[in-house]
Assembly symmetry: C2
Homo-oligomer: 172 residues x 2
DNA sequence: GAAGATTGAAAAGTCAATCTTC
DNA sequence: GAAGATTGACTTTTCAATCTTC
């Protein structure tokens, strides 16, 4: 039973500011997309991931990996998006238990309508506030932290570690 | 109708990594607290905010400001926490419409039990990955971004801008 | 039996009323 | 009437259990 390794005053302040910043940034993006496009930020990420693959089509479990959703979360999200006409599910010819999600024209149209405003906000809230050095620094910090949090999120020890880094959780 | 100002390839990569990193970090903390203490990270923040004020007591709307909750969100959260015996609501003597939230012994005990593990994880996932320079850089980046996101979150133009910076959304 | 996907219930958050007290 | 707080309906997310196909 050793004394816990509390955060220093500096670390605490950094931590609290970091938390406030990321949470407010994410919720600002969420509200903006909900207001302007009627979808949450997470669904936007799903649409983006689909749009970046041939035919706007992706196997469900691959898609879940790309956007870092659980299978269940993806199922629920797709159910909504399917009801909204943005996306369609399609059984695979190869294997009867696997399915694809397919981006529908309405989904692509929504994406094209929503993207400019979304990007503008990301720019306004993040990139416009950072100079070139800070941008590079932010990249370095994320590169340092990402492996740890990926591992903490139950990724397989010898598994596919680069899904998030390459295809990642969201987009433009 | 001007062409949108898309993100450069560099910016895109930074943005996606940033998103993945923060989301995985936050959800790792959330899961850990839920598993070890039975509360989400957001509720932990409420308990911390209370514990840092005399008598563990805070007026509801002040508390909402400290943790960046809407009044409604705070009401719902307190209802749960009150049912769990962590917190109590108390009408103010001064004004019949205002109420205080008061930290109960069980709430304080939970906090003391949960804090070491929580801090250890913050350290493991964030601070242990950053050298001194990066820590300072992270602070600078947050300081640059925070004002913008605070403003985007509907803070009053001439209002209390420093609540989040000083008392902020979470803790050790 | 295990991989891929779905289901249903419960928790957490958001939004637009509403209630209460000043 | 406005500030402080609550309510109820609805959406998103999580978790554990289940169904289906290989």
């Amino acid at each position: 039973m050793t004394e816990p390794d509390w955060l220093s005053a500096d670390e605490q302040q950094t931590w609290r500011q970091f938390l406030a910043t990321t949470q407010l940034l994410l919720s600002a993006l969420d509200r903006e997309l909900m207001r302007d496009a009627g979808i949450p930020h997470s669904h936007y990420g799903v649409l983006v991931a689909l749009s970046e693959h041939p035919d706007g089509r992706r196997r469900l479990s691959d898609l879940a990996g790309l956007v870092d959703f659980s299978q269940s979360r993806l199922t629920h999200a797709l159910t909504r998006m399917e009801a909204a006409g943005l996306v369609r599910r399609e059984s695979r010819p190869s294997s009867g238990r696997e399915k694809d999600a397919v981006l529908l024209p309405a989904g692509r149209a929504l994406l094209e309508r929503a993207a400019p405003g979304h990007v503008a906000l990301v720019r306004q809230l993040l990139f416009d506030r950072l100079d070139r050095d800070q941008q590079a620094q932010l990249r370095g910090i994320c590169a340092a932290v990402l492996p740890a949090v990926v591992q903490a999120s139950g990724a397989e020890p010898g598994g596919f570690p680069q899904t998030l880094v390459a295809g990642c959780a969201d987009a433009s």
